[in-house]
Amino acid sequence: MNIQFRESTEAAPPLTAKNAIKTAIADCDIHPARATRTELYPYLAKRWQHHLEVYGVHAYQGMMEGPPYPKAQPNASRRDACPPEGGPQGSSLSFMQEQHLDPNNVQLGVLNPLNAGQGIRNHELSAALCSAINDWQIDKWTSKDKRLKASIVVGNEDGLSAAAEIRERAGDKNFVQVLLLSRNVEPLGQRRYWPIYQAAEEAGLPVGVHAFGFGGNPITPSGWPSYYIEEMVGHSQCQQSALASLVLEGVFERFPKLKMVMIEAGFGWAPSLAWRLDKVWQRLRSEVPHVKRPPSEYIREQVWWTTQPMEDPERREDLFDVIKWIGWDRLLFATDYPHWDYDEPSRVLPPGVTEANREAFYRDNARKLYGLTA
């Protein structure tokens, strides 16, 4: 967070070479942006360029430009992350290197492009934009900096074309995962999304589920709230419901080698959700005979969590209980660069973590999950 730091008895030291992270880290949630409105046009057929000029993009929400809940800052981004050459935050590779990748010793950076063709009502346009974004990630980012890896962005509401996009990219070392968002037309366990999981499992790629997206459903089960903060906090409830759906529809049972990453939705809720699922499953399992094992087992074996935004207890060591219940081997450090609620690598963990757990948390879990251990 860069609006107001936690009130601490000791002032947080400024980031310098001295206290910067010494060991190389993995940042599992970086958001690359387009410098100009038309930056994707070279990757789009003339038909779609025309479509964008005349009709624009119609997402499953009413605003033609910008989000339904105005963000707290322009582009929801750090005010200090604007590139010197102009363009929005996150749109310049050289400035990302200078401000983030180099000083933080980022060894692996996973790109998750948002507003990139998902959650769009015209599913053909969605597929075309996603394919363009994937080409753009290679040209602008991963081919120019080997630390960066891309996510295969897929047209989420059309499972078959999404699966085709995954198969097209399978084996391309520029990509380390498939990207979905948490909010879709239906809960993520529904059959319409299964071709995505099947293709990802075949390709040996984890499926990242990043918070956000639009599917036309109110962001609470009681309708639309009033404020941005409700949307922000609400993403973790959306993520819980999406994960419950994945478990209860039998996705993990059906695709036992599928790995899923919960991105930018917090992780503190995970133990409680798993306990609740187990308890209710014991009582109601005859309704879901395809869920053969206690839900917590699927979650423990097949789900990972990125850390940002780290939950922030008053007594910071309370966090260790929660991490212990989830498993130190399941957390993937992330900053969310360049967004405003960025977590600073040198400050996220309270003191008292063993060296092995620190390394797992900051780097090794990610390298292992994304197959980059060589």
């Binding site: 107001q4 936690r6 459903n217 089960p221 009681s222 709230p225 419901s241 609740r276 879901v288 922030d312």
Partner: protein, 352 residues
């Protein structure tokens, strides 16, 4: 097993309306005629299908009829063996699903009168919650004021999944009335099904709806806190009923962090969300979603950093625990006393 103490308050029991026709004696001629002429059927919500295992414990399920429909059963299953001093009746009849404010008002009125006559009149340990027609805030307030004349009503009852988030300003006259009349607002699991039961759409299964109740409570807490309900009504107590509770600390850690980040958006929230919860929000004990071993339980209660948040409940006749095991393993005797007696009395000023 952690020992119960006599004279406790069971803050969540569910007397069942046997059938819509049970309300006929409490409806006026017009509505009685509407029910019969139109062939209206029983109002059973998908939140609690009658035969679902979660809707009734096997040994609490009657041979015929709805679980919770018989006072004698409730006495035999809960009031006597748990030696409760009081039990608060929260009827979960599907009146919230009705769209017409006139019909809903008639049904709520009948339901509240039915509760007083069939239950409260027949066992002095019982207390009631006022079910309100939320399709009309004006009519809801009128029903609260009408029922509050009966001191046995200690609470106003709303569902966690309704038409709008509960913090919305349009609903505030309900909270004003409750605060003025010393009534708590009880928010119970269940949906009016006027919105999809999860924030990511309609799931396939009953089990998904039930798991999703916990997420619905989380979004409602956010709404209640950031809209400023408790800045306006500092004496108001809200009780989250059948919400699960183990999600609370990590949820608050997240809300607290974002509040620090974007509090300029809701400047009337002049206290930290953690403090607002500690002063104004309470939670019924069952279901307690956690492993059964005491070590975890003790950590979870410690994370709450308050021994005043939890109110004893059996959630009768729903199946949350077996035997007499209503209290999770590992609670200290002091905490048991807070949960069973002190906290409920501090929450419900009309409970005498």
């Amino acid at each position: 097993m952690t020992s119960l103490i006599a004279g406790g308050v069971d803050c969540d029991v569910h007397p069942a309306v046997p059938h819509l026709t049970s309300l006929l004696p409490h409806l006026n001629d017009y509505w009685r005629d509407q029910v019969t002429t139109r062939g209206m059927v029983d109002l059973i919500s998908q939140s609690y299908p009658q035969n679902s295992p979660i809707t009734a414990r096997e040994d609490w399920r009657p041979e015929a009829g709805k679980p919770g429909a018989s006072l004698a059963d409730m006495q035999r299953h809960v009031l006597d063996p748990f030696e409760v001093g009081h039990a608060i009746c929260n009827p979960l009849y599907g009146v919230q699903m009705v769209f017409s404010e006139d019909m809903q008002t008639a049904f709520c009125r009948a339901l509240n009168d039915w509760l007083a006559k069939e239950w409260l009149d027949r066992d002095t340990r019982l207390r009631g919650s006022i079910v309100i027609p939320t399709q009309s805030v004006e009519k809801a307030v009128a029903e609260i004021e009408r029922c509050a004349q009966d001191p046995r009503f200690v609470q106003v009852l709303m569902l966690v999944m309704g038409d709008t988030p509960l913090g919305k300003r349009a609903l505030w006259p309900i909270y004003e009335a409750a605060e003025r009349l010393d009534l708590a607002i009880g928010v119970h699991a269940g949906s009016a099904y006027h919105n999809p039961p999860t924030a990511v759409g309609w799931g396939s299964y009953h089990i998904e709806d039930y798991v999703g109740q916990a997420q619905a409570f989380q979004t409602q807490l956010t709404s209640l806190i950031v809209e400023g309900v408790f800045a306006r009504h500092p004496r108001l107590k809200m009780v989250m009923l059948e919400s699960g509770i183990s999600w609370l600390p990590p949820y608050l850690w997240r809300l607290h962090k974002f509040w620090r980040g974007v509090r300029m958006e809701t400047p009337w929230v002049d206290r930290a969300p953690l403090e607002i919860v500690r002063s104004n929000i309470r939670f019924s004990l069952q279901p307690f979603d956690a492993p059964r071993e005491p070590a975890t339980l003790i950590r979870l209660f410690d994370h709450m950093q308050s021994d005043e948040l939890v109110l004893f409940s059996t959630d009768y006749p729903h199946w949350q625990f077996d035997g007499q095991d209503a209290l999770p393993e590992g609670l200290s005797p002091d905490l048991v006393r807070k949960i069973m007696i002190d906290n409920p009395h501090a929450t419900y000023p009309r409970l005498t």
